[in-house]
């Protein structure tokens, strides 16, 4: 469960813990948030731990994979959620803003999935859930980097699903719309009103709106559902 110290990642982590999984919550820098999330999981009767792991760091990921291989024989479920936003007009975008967004959401997904997929193939059971975004479909200005990374995840999901299907591993993506977390806190009043006009469900999403679907994807019952990206965005029209 990458990027799990807050927001959607944290909500998914808490839900999976409630489902009975031992949840490993990774974070880059927000140790306090991640520890709090792990604490909340334990307080609710589940098991979980916060682990520092920067998904742009091959070394961090190798160390995590190594430890989980030894301690738990790998993992059954991987949720690739870690992402950062560096919005801005493309024509003025510093290279670093392009790279960081790609390296976190897409590169991070590549590295994490690579590190853990073989174990799932070996055990012939696995669930990989990639968190994409409405941005992959909506084409808003100022998001070329984020949209590119999140759109790439949609394609990656389909292709990987085709490869690992024979091994009992499913790969799907969830594309949340605007969900009320720190990530959208920069939106001004006008932008928020504009957005709401296009959402039939007439509100912003909550992390709790996203977690249940991810939870379902990770069950045995979802074994025949793979390669899909499902938009959970209040019916956003645009």
């Amino acid at each position: 469960m990458t990027g799990a110290s807050r927001g959607i990642g944290r909500a998914i982590g808490e839900r999976l813990a409630a489902d009975g999984y031992h949840v490993v919550l990774t974070y880059r820098a927000d140790a306090a948030g991640a520890e709090e999330a792990a604490g909340a999981i334990r307080a609710a009767g589940g098991t979980g731990e916060a682990v520092k792991c920067d998904v742009t760091s091959a070394a961090d990921i190798a160390a995590l994979a190594d430890r989980l291989d030894k301690e738990r024989e790998g993992i059954d479920v991987l949720v690739n959620n870690a992402a950062v936003l560096k919005n801005g007009l493309f024509a003025l975008m510093p290279d670093a803003n392009w790279s960081l967004v790609m390296e976190t959401a897409l590169g991070g997904t590549y590295r994490m999935t690579k590190a853990f997929v073989r174990g799932m193939l070996r055990r012939r059971w696995g669930r990989i859930v990639n968190v994409s975004s409405l941005a992959a479909f909506s084409g808003a200005a100022g998001q070329t980097n984020y949209a590119a990374a999140k759109g790439a995840l949609v394609a990656f999901t389909k292709s990987l699903a085709a490869e690992v299907g024979p091994f009992g591993v499913t790969v799907n993506a969830v594309a949340p719309g605007f969900v009320e977390t720190e990530m959208i806190s920069f939106l001004g009043k006008e932008a928020r009103e504009d957005f709401l006009k296009r959402v039939p469900v007439q509100r912003f999403g909550r992390p709790e709106d996203i977690a249940p679907f991810v939870s379902f994807l990770c069950t045995e019952g979802a074994a025949y559902l793979t390669g899909q990206t499902v938009r959970v965005d209040g019916g956003f029209v645009g």
Binding site: R118, L121, P166
Partner: protein, 88 residues
Amino acid sequence: MSSEDLKPRVKELIVRQLKLDVDPASIKDDAPLFGDADGGLGLDSIDALELVLGVEKEFGIKVQDEEVGVKAFASVDALCDFIRAKAA
């Protein structure tokens, strides 16, 4: 690990992991495992992945990626060489 033990073990691994309907002893040491070459087993890329998993499980040896894999899995002989080299 002596050649005598390793070759039959590898052949048995191939048959078992890929659920092939052949006698392990009938697999020639130097026959190409993959592709359509005559006398080869005609395995494909999914079989290759299965074999990587099998080698990992049976011998504890990790095949890093397909660059390594293509050479290592060229034939039973190549695979034995690879296993011996990694186990050393």
